[in-house]
């Protein structure tokens, strides 16, 4: 056998030996060792090239060509095996890292707004979007703001119906007149109008005033503390039609449906005319059910055109300006909207209730 044939045979056997070694390599690391062993600077192929020196010069390129071919074949095979092994390794890792995605996530503690707060937020937001400014006032009030300025003089029978909490040894200024806990949010109407007029001279103004109010009345359907929102607007040419428009828009937005409204003539000292406002029953769509006592209507709030005596008490000329006002009970609206059966639930602060009502339905 010539020298060149012997080298060729040597190369061929080296190549097939390497290929089978590559195939049986267990992992990437073993493959890397084999790459060094066969293709490295001091590897087996380089060893073969060392024998080229013994060949006559004209035959050397031929062998060089063979060596390069073998190098290319082995490199390609190595890359192929590398890819295969790496794919196998990854899928093994993936399998090993498999988790139970149905286990509970790591939860942050979830808080919740009280349903009354949610109601207050919703109600004030609706009026704020209609251009009503938000105002607040004190809970400890004097008789002037809670009663007299609202056209409820001391001898007025309506004053007795308010079940007022009076404060012990706390009087208004130098007078002997006792301070009280406000029985409604209407005094904010007086305070806000006075402030507004002092700053701006004359109407228009439109205000929504949320807050806590107090009545000395405690049973299954009465809480001594509850929340009201007072809404009023004073401008030129404000009419009952506007009152109806605002009520309809507000109640339909709040209850997220086109609710029917009905106004019934009523009496409040601070409005004239006055009206109780009913909505078509949200439980039976007006057909009549237990909640609406079969009438198809549910009373939701009291309203009316601001009485000229109230306008006078804050210095508004009632021959030039008119206004509407209404006050609504937040707990009542929230109970109707969210189907809460018992007023007392609001003040028990049972966390199961708070969590339940905190989740948007």
């Amino acid at each position: 056998m010539s020298e060149i044939d012997s080298l060729k045979a040597q190369l061929e056997s080296l190549q097939s030996e390497a290929l089978s070694a590559f195939d049986s390599a267990a992992d990437s690391a073993a493959l890397q060792l084999l790459r060094v062993h066969y293709l490295g600077k001091k590897g087996a192929l380089t060893e073969v090239l060392k024998g080229v020196g013994k060949l006559p010069p004209q035959e050397r390129p031929v062998i060089g060509q063979y060596v390069n071919q073998a190098k290319a074949v082995l490199s390609a095979a190595l890359d192929r095996c590398e890819a295969t092994l790496s794919a196998q390794g990854k899928s093994a890792r993936i399998e090993a890292e498999r988790i139970d995605v149905t286990l509970s996530g790591r939860k942050l503690p979830a808080g919740a707004l009280h349903p009354v707060q949610q109601g207050l937020d919703e109600i004030t937001a609706i009026f704020a979007q209609m251009g009503f400014a938000i105002a607040e006032g004190p809970e400890i009030e004097d008789e002037f703001h809670n009663f007299d300025a609202l056209n409820i003089p001391p001898e007025h029978p309506a004053r007795a119906m308010h079940d007022t909490f009076f404060l012990k040894d706390l009087t208004h200024g130098d007078a002997a007149e006792p301070m009280l806990l406000r029985t409604h949010t209407s005094p904010v109407q007086i305070r806000t109008m006075k402030r507004f007029l002092a700053e701006n001279g004359e109407p228009p103004l439109a205000v929504v005033a949320p807050g806590r109010v107090y009545r000395c009345d405690y049973d299954v359907t009465h809480s001594p503390m509850f929340h009201q929102v007072e809404v009023f607007k004073v401008d030129r040419d404000v009419s009952m039609a506007h009152l109806k428009g605002v009520l309809k828009h507000f109640l339909s937005t709040y209850f997220e449906k086109d609710v029917g409204i009905r106004l019934r003539p009523h009496y409040f000292p601070f409005t004239e005319p006055s009206a109780e406002v009913d909505i078509s029953c949200v439980f039976c769509a007006g057909k009549g059910c237990r909640i609406c006592k079969g009438s198809g209507w549910i009373e939701v709030l009291g309203s009316g055109m601001i009485h000229p005596n109230v306008m006078r008490s804050v210095g508004v000329d009632s021959s030039e300006f008119s206004g509407f006002a209404f006050g609504l009970g937040v707990e009542r609206l929230v109970m109707l909207k969210q189907g809460i059966p018992d007023l007392r639930l609001f003040f028990e602060n049972d966390v199961r209730f708070l969590r339940r009502m905190g989740v948007p339905l």
């Binding site: 790591r106 808080g111 707004l113 707060q117 009503f132 301070m179 103004l205 009419s239 428009g245 309809k248």
Partner: protein, 784 residues
């Protein structure tokens, strides 16, 4: 106020159904609480005669009754009432009867004694919401008769809620007048035959010296009556109207009041001395009222007096001594108009409410004063016999509200209502007693004397609204205002975002609870008329309310409670009083529960402190927590005041364990409170370039004395660490094995960065050395 249908029909020929009438009443502004339907349900309740009454052998409060209901055998019935005796007739619900409340009567044993039925009060018959014992039927009630038929209970009753402006409608006559006008039906007053005057009967003379307060006062003496029970029809209708029959005279006066609207009073003439004067009381004058109260009167109180003493607080209540009783034979009747504000003030002064005062306060119809006197006289003579004297009158009913006129422009009414008011409406108002006159845009209205509430143009707009109906008014959105809406605060919302449930607790707590966290410094505000001791003082801290809520929840097996409340606290100040807006937190029990990824963890101080810090951070504020052992109700060593800016804005700490125990809470409880009114406005951040060169971090661990404040350590690191120092924090704290007693090991991690270049080893070595020196100098702390 309850009005049987037949009372209305006595004035107006109504043909509509009770349901239709109810709708009309609502439209006219009279709230209908209920229309009680015919009481067929009481079928089975029969008139029973008590033939024997013995005490129950085993129960003091029960009686064993034998009752004759007209059957062959008497019924044995066990009864818990006390107001009946042998010979009384009472309603007996026999076995099988279903009462209006749904109760079905069965044979049963009560404390060992068998009862074959039940004796009824007004409550069981659905006639009243409360009663003081069994309903005692008239003596002539036929034994065995169906009570429903005997009392003619089979008719509709309107339960109305009359608004305080409509004194004229607190009776059947006024309501009937409104209905007649609305429906265009004729209204007819009840006619009373002329009463023969017996000249032998001398009515006392009447003088009114307080003419403003009693514009008309009438009296009439009736002699020789025999007090009898009122007739069954009257008793029945009074019962349906919710009033208990008492005796003939009282029932007749109540009947006249409920139907005609005029409160009247009857004095026993033989208890009176001389003539009658209506006058202002003398300061300190004594008055022993019919309800048993002894009053010292004040100047200004309007009284009716004879020549010796006060016989009535005008319009409110008669005296005990002058009342009609069993043996009364001669009486003096009173019918008057008392000024509403006068009656109201006296009623408030003595907290003395009566059916009469409610009507006088709201204003009665002046035209009825005389009419009622005639009707009552006729009814009394008819029932009890006797003869009557002349009516003594002082004042003129016709002068009350006479000639009251309201005029205004029609367009003003139309602009207030937002709808036109055509002249056709005037016809309806005319039927209601108004005299309507239009002259172009000018409207002039003569107001009837019984409408005390119509005095200004706006009142006319209400009358028009009533007759036109609110449904006829269009629904219009007004032009929207251009006021910029105020951005709502997010105080409670951010607290809730931190994992807390929002609580709403009462603003009043008990005096004991107030003392838990606030010393008695005289600044509490108490309620003058609290509902209970538990709700008697305006809170100065929200914590007691939250502790009560926590107790309730822990009792309901909640493993942990995290609550937050935004509300007000109240206290006296030099200027009077103040209300502060506060935000309060409470945390107790497990903050984390056992999970597959970790174990349960109980809340500690730092859970709550973290929540407060984050809450402040969200609004651009920083809190400094300064240890304070002197805070009432909080455990020393685990409590701090919270400084925000220059203000001491709040407190945080662990609730004293004895105190927590008072709320039945064993686990540590942590509470915090911030005064929202003291918080400064958070600063909005200004932009600063973001660093481009890499930062390095280094750790140093020192041994400190155990009481060291980590805040002080970090402040010293920050001030001594050089200008490259960007941040420092405690990354490790250890005082276990290997650390000498009285010492604590703190690991400090600090960051270094330069905006202009990459840092070198020399930079971090220099910073480390500076910090080591600072810790040694400031705390005597050595590297560990």
């Amino acid at each position: 106020m309850k009005i049987p249908f037949s009372w209305l029909k006595a004035y107006v020929p109504l043909t509509a159904t009770p349901a239709q009438i109810a709708d009309d009443l609502v439209r006219l502004g009279h709230e209908v609480e209920a229309v009680e339907l015919p009481r067929a349900a009481v079928h089975g309740v029969r008139v029973g005669l008590i033939t024997a009454k013995q005490p129950h052998p085993d129960a003091d409060k029960l009686s064993l009754l034998k009752i004759d209901i007209g059957e062959t055998e008497e019924l044995a019935i066990v009864c818990g009432a006390a107001n009946m005796g042998e010979g009384d007739k009472v309603p007996v619900a026999t076995i099988g009867t279903t009462l209006p409340g749904g109760l079905v009567i069965k044979q049963g044993k009560i404390r060992g004694e068998t009862s074959f039925g039940m004796c009824c009060s007004e409550v069981e018959l659905g006639l009243a919401d409360e009663s003081a014992g069994l309903l005692i039927l008239p003596a002539d009630a036929p034994v065995g008769a169906q009570v429903g038929e005997y009392l003619t209970l089979e008719e509709a009753v309107f339960d109305l809620s009359i608004t305080p402006n409509r004194g004229d409608c607190m009776n059947a006559r006024g309501i009937a007048r409104d209905l007649a006008a609305d429906a265009g039906l004729p209204f007819t007053d009840i006619s009373v035959a002329e009463i023969a005057v017996d000249t032998a009967v001398t009515t006392p003379r009447v003088t009114v010296s307080a003419g403003q307060d009693a514009p008309v006062y009438m009296a009439r003496r009736i002699d020789g009556i025999t007090l009898a029970d009122s007739p069954a029809w009257m008793q029945a209708s009074l019962l349906m109207a919710g009033m208990r029959p008492i005796n003939g005279v009282v029932d007749i006066l109540n009947y006249v009041m409920l139907t005609q609207g005029q409160p009247m009073h009857a004095f026993d003439a033989d208890t009176l001395h001389g003539d009658i004067t209506v006058r202002s009381a003398v300061d300190g004058e004594d008055f022993a009222a019919l309800d048993g109260r002894e009053l010292k009167l004040h100047t200004g109180d309007l009284v009716v007096s004879d020549e010796r003493s006060v016989i009535a607080l005008a319009g409110i209540m008669g005296s005990a001594a002058s009342g009609v009783s069993e043996g009364t034979v001669n009486i003096v009747l009173e019918s008057a108009f008392f000024r509403p504000a006068r009656v109201s003030e006296t009623r408030r002064t003595y907290a003395m409410v009566s059916e009469a005062s409610m009507r006088f306060e709201r204003g009665v119809d002046p035209a009825v004063v005389a009419m009622a006197m005639q009707q009552a006289t006729a009814l009394i003579i008819d029932l009890c016999g006797g003869t009557s004297g002349e009516i003594a009158v002082c004042g003129d009913a016709g002068a009350i509200n006479a000639g009251r006129t309201v005029s205004c422009s029609l367009s003003r009414i139309e602009s207030r209502l937002g709808v036109a008011v055509p002249a056709a409406l005037d016809v309806v108002l005319a039927r209601m007693g108004f005299v309507m006159q239009r002259d172009g845009d000018l409207l002039t209205v003569h107001v009837p004397s019984f409408r005390h509430d119509v005095t200004i143009p706006e009142d006319l707009s209400e009358e028009y609204a009533r007759v036109i109906g609110f449904d006829a008014i269009p629904t219009l959105l007004p032009p929207l205002a251009t006021t910029a809406p105020v951005r709502p605060d997010r105080f409670i919302h951010d607290a809730v975002a931190g994992g807390f449930l929002q609580a709403v607790t009462y603003a009043f707590i008990s005096a004991d609870e107030q003392r838990l966290f606030v010393a008695d410094d005289g600044l509490d505000i108490a309620l003058a008329n609290p509902i209970s001791d538990a709700m008697s003082v305006m809170r100065r801290s929200v914590w007691p309310g939250l502790l009560n809520a926590a107790r309730r929840n822990l009792n309901r097996q909640q493993p942990g409670v995290a609550l937050a409340e935004q509300g007000r606290v109240y206290l006296r100040t030099d200027a009077g009083h103040d209300e502060n807006n506060v935000l309060a937190w409470l945390m107790t029990g497990e903050v984390e529960q056992d999970q597959w990824y970790g174990d349960a963890r109980a809340a500690d101080f730092f859970d709550l402190k973290g929540a407060v810090e984050t809450w402040l951070q969200v609004r651009g504020l920083n809190g400094r927590f300064i240890a304070d052992d002197s805070m009432q109700g909080l455990q020393a060593g685990q409590s701090a005041k919270i400084m925000v800016g220059r203000a001491e804005a709040g407190r945080i700490g662990r609730v004293d364990t004895d105190l927590a125990e008072q709320f039945d809470i064993d686990a540590p409880v942590f509470v915090a409170e911030l005064n929202l009114d003291l918080l400064p406005q958070g600063k909005q951040a200004k932009f600063a370039p973001l660093a481009e060169f890499p930062a390095v971090e280094r750790d140093l661990v020192f041994l400190f004395d155990r009481g060291v404040s980590s805040e002080a350590v970090l402040n010293a690191v920050r001030s001594g660490g050089g200008k490259l120092l960007t941040d420092a924090r405690i990354f490790d704290r250890y005082d276990g094995k290997g650390v000498p007693d009285g010492k604590v090991s703190l690991g400090i991690r600090f960051g270094l960065q330069d905006a202009k270049r990459t840092l070198t080893q020399a930079d971090s070595d220099a910073a480390s050395s500076a910090i080591i020196a600072a810790m040694d100098k400031r705390f005597g702390a050595a590297l560990r």
